[in-house]
Subunit: 207 residues, 2 copies
């Protein structure tokens, strides 16, 4: 029941989507929502939504639906989103500097506490409050701050080396924006975001 590790990866992913939809319902002071309504908002089938929610326990009210606040609570405590999670960014080029000033992360419970770059002095042009350090300081920093998550947005040719380094310093999750497949130990989870692939994928269907 509460054994968290059994929740399928895809369900986890969708739970995030639900949480986001719930935010909007909370904003609008909606108290109760049915699987049908929420599923529509999240772009999934109602049965799938209910199936996903059963991993969190049973707390819907038949005939009425789910209490928005409670559902939000449950999802977020399961996802561990209630505390701000420290994250570091590696690579402050075009994409990296955009991610630095991207407001979205903070809003969702993540805090980029520092950025690292091979040439930090080149990146000083931003007024962001987030410090940008030289790569060679990353090891001690990660240990001192117990950082477990990293976003990497470095050029393809540097990516693998960065990963090795991060892993050796205890990083457990990596969000990779480099257009390259990264080798990593099985206990380190890597999520890849490849913008070019996303577009290509789209282009195929468009013809």
């Amino acid at each position: 029941m509460t054994s968290r590790l059994k929740i399928p990866r895809k369900s986890i992913y969708r739970l995030s989507v639900y949480s986001r939809c719930l935010n909007r319902l909370l904003d609008n002071h909606v108290e109760t929502v049915s699987s049908d309504t929420l599923a529509k908002a999240a772009g999934v089938k109602p049965a799938q939504l209910r199936k996903d929610l059963t991993y969190l326990g049973n707390f819907g009210r038949r005939g009425l639906g789910y209490n928005v606040a409670e559902l939000w609570q449950r999802i977020n405590s399961t996802m561990g989103t209630n505390r701000l999670l420290p994250v570091v960014l590696v690579g402050v080029g075009n994409l990296g500097s955009a991610l630095l000033s991207y407001q979205g992360f903070a809003k969702e419970g993540f805090e980029i506490i520092a950025a690292f770059d091979a040439e930090p002095e080149r990146r000083r042009h931003r007024q962001s409050a987030i410090p940008i350090y030289d790569m060679n300081r990353i090891g001690p920093f990660l240990k001192a701050n117990k950082v477990k998550l990293a976003i990497i947005a470095v050029p393809a040719e540097a990516a693998q080396e960065v990963v090795n380094r991060l892993v050796s310093h205890g990083i457990q999750g990596i969000l990779n924006f480099s257009p390259l497949l990264l080798q990593s130990p099985p206990d380190v989870m890597v999520n890849n975001v490849n913008l070019a692939i996303e577009l290509e994928n789209l282009a195929y269907f468009v013809r």
Copy 2:
């Protein structure tokens, strides 16, 4: 056999990954590659790779592997990546302006030919050669340039309206960076990239 619409979505996605791996092999003047080697590079199982490739026909040589150049050809002609596809960007905020200067797209066969924003005069600070227009000029532009693909990176509250507008002007594929589920007709394909969700997903497994 050649009926393209039958290739599963996920296979299409992986084909892009293979193509990218092949690029590197081509750079290194490797002539032949086995499913085993390529699969390893792409992070999939060999059997899955071969299964995916059967959608493109049979052209591997048993005992030897695949001709790198031919395989690349086949994948790219199937994916339609041989010609530069025009794309527009809507929303030139933090993320949008990063995408504008992101070199990756052009390298992969896409060309952002224009950007649009509700307040284009605010966005003039970049030295990019790509013109930034006011949103109200988007309709005629899309028609004149036969643009079928759009990237949207606008705030959540504006996203749906932008989609409606794009769709009404013939856009067929949308790469959505807004943290919101978009309603769209079934014949318009939307790929969502939600950075916060990716991180959250990672965070769950990290604890």
